[in-house]
Every structure is written in C-alpha cells, then in structure tokens.
Symmetry: C2
Subunit: 261 residues, 2 copies
Amino acid sequence: MSHAIGIFDSGVGGLTVYKELARLLPNQNFVYLGDTGRVPYGTKSPATVRRYAREAANFLSRHGVKMLVVACNTASAVALEELRQQFALPVIGVIEPGAERAVTLSKNSRIGVIGTEGTIKSGAYSAAIHRLNPDAAVFSTPCPLFVPLAEEGWAHHRIAHLAAEEYLAPLLAENIDTLVLGCTHYPLLKQTLEQVVGSEVRLVDSAAATAEAVRALLPNDTSPFEKEGRFYVTDVPTRFEQVGSAFLGAPLTCVEQVELA
Amino acid sequence: MSHAIGIFDSGVGGLTVYKELARLLPNQNFVYLGDTGRVPYGTKSPATVRRYAREAANFLSRHGVKMLVVACNTASAVALEELRQQFALPVIGVIEPGAERAVTLSKNSRIGVIGTEGTIKSGAYSAAIHRLNPDAAVFSTPCPLFVPLAEEGWAHHRIAHLAAEEYLAPLLAENIDTLVLGCTHYPLLKQTLEQVVGSEVRLVDSAAATAEAVRALLPNDTSPFEKEGRFYVTDVPTRFEQVGSAFLGAPLTCVEQVELA
C-alpha cells in the first residue's frame, strides 16, 4: 500500500473527491480515511478540527502515502497550513482548486460560496479567491441543512428546493455569476441548486477541481502497483458502506474500522 | 462538587433535561457533560455510542456524582444496560420515563415515537412501551432533519412544517393519539409538531418525564450544598454557550473544555 495517494475526510462526503480521483488517475492506488466516529466537522471548532486532521494525517502517513488529499472542506479551511508544516508530504486541499476554478469561470468577478459553518466562518475561500483576483467580490453563506438533506436522500425533494431558495436568495441578490459548492456533500444537490440559481450562474464542484490539481502534480506517473483501494473509518463500517455506495454509484465493501486517537 | 447529579448528553440537547431538573430540584447541584467534540450520536453505531457513553460516565464518576442521568435518547437507547452494570450508581435514562408517560396518556394504546436513526433502530422505546402495556401498538420513524432545523433556528419555519408533515404522515395514518418526542432537540419544534398532529394527539416530552423520575428517587433530599452548576464539553465551549443559552432561555457561562478519551 505504500506510494498510494491518501485521502482524508470527516466521513463519507470525501468519496466524491475519491471518485473523481479514481476516474482521472486509474493507475494510482488510494487509501481513504473517513472519521465517521466524529463526523461532522462543519459545526466543530477550528482547534478541534485541527486536532482531528492531525490524527488522520498521522494515520495515513503511517500507511506510507506519497501525498495527502484533504477532501473535507472544513479541514482544508482550518488545518491545511498546519498539516503542510508538520508532514513531509505534498498536502492538497479542496479550497485552492475550487477557488481557482471559480476565478477562471467568473466573468463579472462576483462569486458566491456556500459551505459548512466552519468553512464559511474561516473565510478560507474568500482569502483564496482574493489571492487570485484581489478585485473579486465574494458573498458567502453557510447551508447547514444541505448535508442532512443529502444524507436523507431528499436532495431533489421540495424541502431541499425551499432550503436552497432561502439560503441562496441573498447571494443571488448580489448578482453572482459563479457559485462554489464548498462542501463535499453539495454536488448531490446539484440539480436542485441549478434550478434555484438559474442557467446564468455556473456551479463549481471542488471535487472535480481538486482531482485535476492532483493529476497536475503527477503528470508522468505511469508505473502502477497492483491496483488496490482501501477504506478506513472510525465508526463501524455499515452506514459508511450504505451511504458511500450511493455516493460512488457502486458497491463499497472491505471497509475497515480503526482507532485514531 | 461531590453529591451532585451528573447529566450526560452528546451535546447541547440534554440541556432541556437539565433545565427541567434544575426547576424541579432547586436544592440539588448538577454537573453536565456535553460530548460536543463527537456530537451527534444519532447516526453513529451502537458500539461507538456505547464506548462514548462509557467514557462520559467515567468522567462524571470521577467527579463523584451520586447519580447519572443519561439525557441523550440515543445513548439511553443503546448504552443504559451496560452503564448500569459497570457503574455503582443509579443510572436514569430518558426512554423509560418517556415510555411510561406515553402509556399513561394514551387512550387507544396507539403510540407514535420519533427520534434519531440510532434511537429508532434500537427499538428501545417500543420495548419499554410493551413492557408496560403488551397490547400497545407502537409506530416509529426517524426524523434526521429535526435536529439541524432546531439548531438552525428554523423550528417554526415553513420547511420545518413540511418536514414534519412528511415524517409524521405514516404515523398519523395509523391513528396514534400520543407521540413521544424521543430526542432532546424535538421539544424545540413542539409548536410546529402540534400544528401538524392536531389537538387530538398528545405530545410526550421525555425531558419533563425524566426530571420527574429523578425527583421520585430523591424525595427527601433537602440538605443542599452551596448551589453550584458545572458544565463540561469536549469541543471549545463557544458554540455550546451560544446554542445552549437559547435552549435554557438564560445565559450559559463558565463552560470548560475537557478530554475524555
């Protein structure tokens, strides 16, 4: 399992990033860790999320991964710098690739960002967008109901539509032309969000942008080991396998429970 | 702090139980522990919830509490027996008092129960109701959106109303006359739930029932120490203080962060 790419998320949501990575990089091995015993991170404090991220990175580092992909937006928002300082590995988060894609796509430089409470409070997307375009206007809001709506299987339900209208109205009033889906669960609500924002607003999926950023770091890597993917979680695997299969659109098995702390 | 009553919850929700206890038992001291670093329990496995409950009980036990109140429905549903075996203290959960109140109130013995995924899957309310009335018909369903709706401050929002209609329709179709609110957050949605179920269905708040069960165990305890309440959490206290003040209807301060594991 050494020389695999390590992917870490608070739970099942990061499988959207894994799915893109596995599609773009079919010759790579992956180790995925979902901290399902302590999910979610989005409502927890930066200090606690940093501690959990450190423990996760330690675990993956012990598995000899060659790179660390922080698939969780909240952990990327508050823990990336610390992880880069503490681990002698390339550490890729989802914020910078998402911000870059948004800046490229936006024509009027008015960009909306939605995410968890932790991600939005951190201001990480706003800072990353302004590093690329200091003149951009960024409008952001947390959408705490989107994750439970996605996990409930209500992504296309009338309730999801109403919640999206409520959350997005202030952003649409600012005439944004680009909206960053700053949480790994949000792509599951893409269809509903498209209906609410209309065809004039482009949606940015950080998962796809992140997978491309990872590929850019591994351009000539064509010497795969025997193809293998491993999944670890910190709660019993049952729910991760169930919800994760829906995320991946394929059965998820051989998930193993581990202890981090 | 010895001889205090220990109260434990996955987070802030158990403050509804604390509030009732403090009102009914003004001469008692309380130590409250909210496991905010790992909240919620409702979507986690019984094995993991049992481990967390054990760690919480250990912490309160070291504080010399004379009784342990498990204010969390999910932990009461899956961990109560184990806690009773492992700790030489009276251990009171919220399930039995809620079930007893429901059986007393119901005239047609058709009782609805709502709660987290973990609580409903455990069948604990159904079992407790049947121990008291083997002929009762129990209809239950998990309502995963109610906690985020309550924490979002949308308890009286149209979205909460729609979610309640969706969740409760199958129970109302079974002609229930009593509905157990089997999660500490749900009393915050009481007004919305009353509108959806109508005046023919009685709502049972486990918090109030549990506080009365605790009082029944302490009938003649009238020698209070200097009045004191302590609150411990496993994430930084900021959010617990904010949300908790709304739960209590009074400012919540002096909350201290601790490590359990």
